[in-house]
């Protein structure tokens, strides 16, 4: 059985300084939190595995295949989508872009794909905003639109970079609910998370990074005081 996501011997550096050193890890199905202090290489892990930044060495495998082969099964939600919010597109237009590999290139979006986009919007609670211009949505709503886009891709593996950062409580609850329902459908979600809250309550597994793997495994075993201290640095006075 191939793990949905696996890296082997991954080394990444920025301008000569190491960001990730010899990371080897395989994800388990379910909801995994990727934790670590600032600069630990959490975002770097996802970006390097996806080929968005160059790595010095190492491999990444998705369901046992390379990214090109498994592309349709992988969805990535970046930390801050660098898009032009003034772009003339509605929330539905943006989500429908995820259906592009299934559509013909000319003409308007076919009905079936518009429906799939609408369903995705519904699952993040934004179906009433389907026709609103994205520039007129709040920050949290924009984040949910991009989540809907990732959902609309029909992927089996979701890589998310801090989707809960700086969102309001409603958005946070909505997103967590969506993630749980994904897991229930058998999908895998790897999520970089910015702080240590919510871990015990919502996540199945953790990967704790500090430029290298500090700890990895089910929450109960790996999310411990010791592993946290090892990654984030101990309190003053402790060995």
């Amino acid at each position: 059985m191939n793990p949905p996501f696996a890296v082997e011997g991954l080394n990444v550096s920025y301008a000569g300084r190491p960001a990730l050193t010899n990371v080897t890890w395989a994800a388990a199905p379910g909801l995994t939190a990727i934790l670590g202090p600032n600069g630990a290489g959490k975002s770097t892990l996802l970006k390097a595995a996806l080929g968005l930044i160059p790595s010095d060495s190492g491999k990444a495998r998705f369901f046992g295949q390379s990214l090109e082969q498994a592309r349709s099964r992988v969805a990535y939600l970046p930390q801050r989508a660098s898009v032009d919010w003034d772009f003339p597109a509605s929330a539905l237009d943006v989500v429908a872009m995820a259906r592009l590999p299934r559509m013909r290139w000319w003409g308007s979006v076919p009905r079936a794909e518009r429906e799939a986009a609408r369903v995705a919007l519904d699952s993040v609670g934004l179906v009433e905003f389907a026709d609103r211009q994205i520039g007129r949505l709040s920050g949290g709503q924009q984040q949910r639109v991009f989540l809907a886009r990732a959902l609309a891709q029909g992927a089996d593996l979701f890589l998310m970079d801090e989707p809960l950062a700086a969102v309001d409580a409603v958005t946070e609850q909505t997103i967590l609910a969506v993630l749980h329902s994904l897991v229930e459908e058998g999908k895998t979600v790897l999520m970089v998370h910015h702080d240590l809250s919510l871990i015990a309550a919502h996540f199945d597994h953790v990967l704790i990074l500090a430029e290298h793997v500090v700890a990895a495994g089910p929450v109960a075993e790996s999310f411990t005081e010791a592993s946290i201290a090892a990654a984030f640095g101990g309190l003053p006075g402790r060995a």
């Binding site: 968005l52 349709s72 970046p78 660098s82 032009d84 772009f87 886009r149």
Partner: protein, 276 residues
């Protein structure tokens, strides 16, 4: 009753305006509006070189074909130079555009100075490439403009979905396996084609206006990309037609300038409309 010449100029300018509006819409969204200015200025040395080469081979310096080919080639070189300058990431795009634009234009001016001393170079009307010579569009020019317009609109229509995805979120498009580099090249090629085609009509100084003004106006008052492109094309075509008609009534207004001025009036109207 419209005279034949007026009709030709009207149709030619309308076709160019329409194509420029549509392509300009994408250029605007992609943050590439000023590239049109760079291409226009970078085309000058190519035009001059082409006329010198044609004259050296004893050909007639009159025909537009070789001159436009020269314009396209040096415009493309300008784009390559731009890409090379910004590749390292240490020079920002606006600075790089300024550098390329002035370097090529200066080179072209030197070329003009050399060309003017050669027999029959004045025949090519090289100086008219700077301000345009729309009033003397011939039937074959208009047919070419029409073909170009149809071609550009056809390409845009055929590639509408991936082009939209590219302009909105390039990283996402790439992650979906879209041939992002190829699509970008197609867009650049369209931009180049429309700029070069606009040179005989409005000249290299104003070709950027033909691309930007209708698109900017349309952006203010539309929601949704198909509406933006359609309106930009319509505004561009209308400006082309109206500019031609105006220059029939008033002898002192060059046709190219009239087209751009009408486009600016349209832009003003769009600004007012969007504020209400």
């Amino acid at each position: 009753m419209i005279g034949h010449n007026t009709l030709i100029v009207l149709l030619g300018c309308a076709a160019l305006g329409g194509a420029s509006g549509v392509v300009g819409g994408f250029a605007l969204l992609r943050g590439r509006a000023l590239l049109a200015d760079a291409i226009g200025h970078a085309a000058l040395p190519g035009v001059v070189a082409a006329s010198l080469i044609v004259a050296a081979f004893g050909g007639s310096a009159r025909s537009l074909g070789p001159l436009l080919l020269g314009a396209a080639l040096s415009g493309w070189l300008g784009l390559l130079a731009l890409r090379a300058l910004t590749a390292s990431g240490r020079i920002r795009q606006d600075a790089a555009i300024g550098v390329v634009l002035s370097a090529f234009y200066a080179l072209g001016t030197v070329g003009l100075s050399i060309a003017q001393a050669m027999p029959n170079a004045a025949q090519a009307g090289l100086s008219h490439f700077i301000l345009g010579q729309a009033a003397t569009l011939t039937e074959s020019d208009a047919i070419l403009a029409g073909a170009l317009a149809l071609g550009c609109i056809g390409v845009v229509a055929a590639l509408f979905q991936p082009l939209r995805a590219l302009c909105f979120d390039e990283a996402f498009a790439r992650s979906q396996g879209l041939p992002v580099r190829l699509l970008d090249l197609v867009l650049l090629a369209l931009l180049l084609a429309v700029c070069v085609a606009g040179l005989p009509a409005v000249g290299l100084l104003l070709v950027v206006a033909l691309l930007i003004v209708p698109a900017a106006a349309a952006r203010l008052v539309t929601q949704g990309l198909p509406a933006l492109l359609a309106l930009a094309g319509a505004l561009g075509a209308a400006a082309g037609a109206a500019g031609a008609l105006i220059s029939t009534r008033f002898e002192n207004i060059p046709t190219g300038a009239a087209v751009v001025l009408v486009g600016l009036v349209g832009f003003g109207a769009a600004v007012t409309w969007s504020r209400r």
